[in-house]
Symmetry: C2
Subunit: 196 residues, 2 copies
């Protein structure tokens, strides 16, 4: 499979799409050190959505990789990680949002952010913005020693990827993260592909 | 203030109540080693609810104590911890739920759980059950070294308490946690009081 068959998410933007049970989603970091935030909901009932809290509880771990399952707020399995060439992702930090840029970084003007990009990608599926409580932050590198959260440059190298298999019919939103500091100083694209 | 002015939440049950901005909520562990799960929403817009993810992001820490603030999914401050005699609480684990007892513990019959107790306590305020994504688990003792989650008996001794000041008008749900293993082997009561 060549990279040319993959779709590109431009830097600091997002996409929304459907993923049927059994289909696989490949998410690839083409340049390295770039985070992709993923959020998903049940296609048949959008009151059922991805829950980072249920996911870490059932995994018994803050760190997910091949074999681990993403769970919903109703404790149902949504997707399984079946391939992971990077090995470091995050489930603790919510999608970067406008208020975060204003409060933590002191921005006074609009800054692109994953929260808005996920929400706008889901709008066509009738999903309200406040459903996006947590996300699976692919390639995000957060340490938590003694409880202190620190964001480091992603460990992903060019070509690193993760493959998720849908375990129910899903509505998926995926971003190329818009936060410069989270992505080693520069926001870059993300590539993705749906495999049968 | 004597303990007799406090209300009691019976073991493995929950309560729901309103808390006005400026009012304070005292949550006390009368016997020691007992967890109380807290969830809250904005009283004027129940689409705004407590977010553990936003809370740890703004705190920069997984561990909260006096001075820390609970944030909503819309990044607004909901309540501030103004007193804490225990010092160890949890923001990682979601409220214990029926599926968790069935999946992780293999229960085949109904087991009381915080998820249902929070939801039934909020029903009279018109809050749908799926709003309860995460909770502030007062006195819950979870270690996360190298990412491995382990639940230990609560560090709280008899009389240990926490006081939260509401920063907006809130609908609050509070439980005496229903999970034996989380509470040192036995589920005990919790006491609470609203202070002006």
């Amino acid at each position: 499979m060549s990279l040319s068959t993959m779709k590109e998410i431009l830097p600091q933007s997002g996409v929304g799409f459907l993923l049927r049970a059994g289909q696989k989603l490949k998410v690839l970091d083409p340049m390295g050190s770039q985070v992709a935030d993923l959020f998903c909901l049940s296609r048949i009932y959008t009151g059922e959505w991805f829950s980072a809290a249920r996911t870490i509880d059932y995994a018994g771990s803050l760190l997910l990789t091949t074999g681990n399952i993403l769970y919903s707020n109703m404790s149902n399995p949504m997707a399984k990680i079946i391939e992971d060439t990077c090995g470091r992702h995050d489930l603790l930090i919510p999608p970067c949002c406008l208020k975060e840029f204003q409060t933590l970084a002191g921005n006074t003007q609009h800054h692109p952010n994953c929260d808005e990009n996920l929400a706008s990608s889901l709008k066509k599926y009738g999903v309200p913005a406040n459903r996006i409580a947590t996300s699976f932050n692919i390639f995000m590198n957060v340490s938590f020693e003694k409880g202190d959260l620190r964001i480091h440059p992603p460990a992903s190298r060019p070509g690193d990827h993760i493959v998720l298999e849908a375990l129910m019919d899903l509505v998926v939103a995926l971003t190329a993260c818009a936060h410069e500091e989270t992505n080693g100083g520069e926001c870059k694209p993300i590539r993705y592909e749906i495999l049968e």
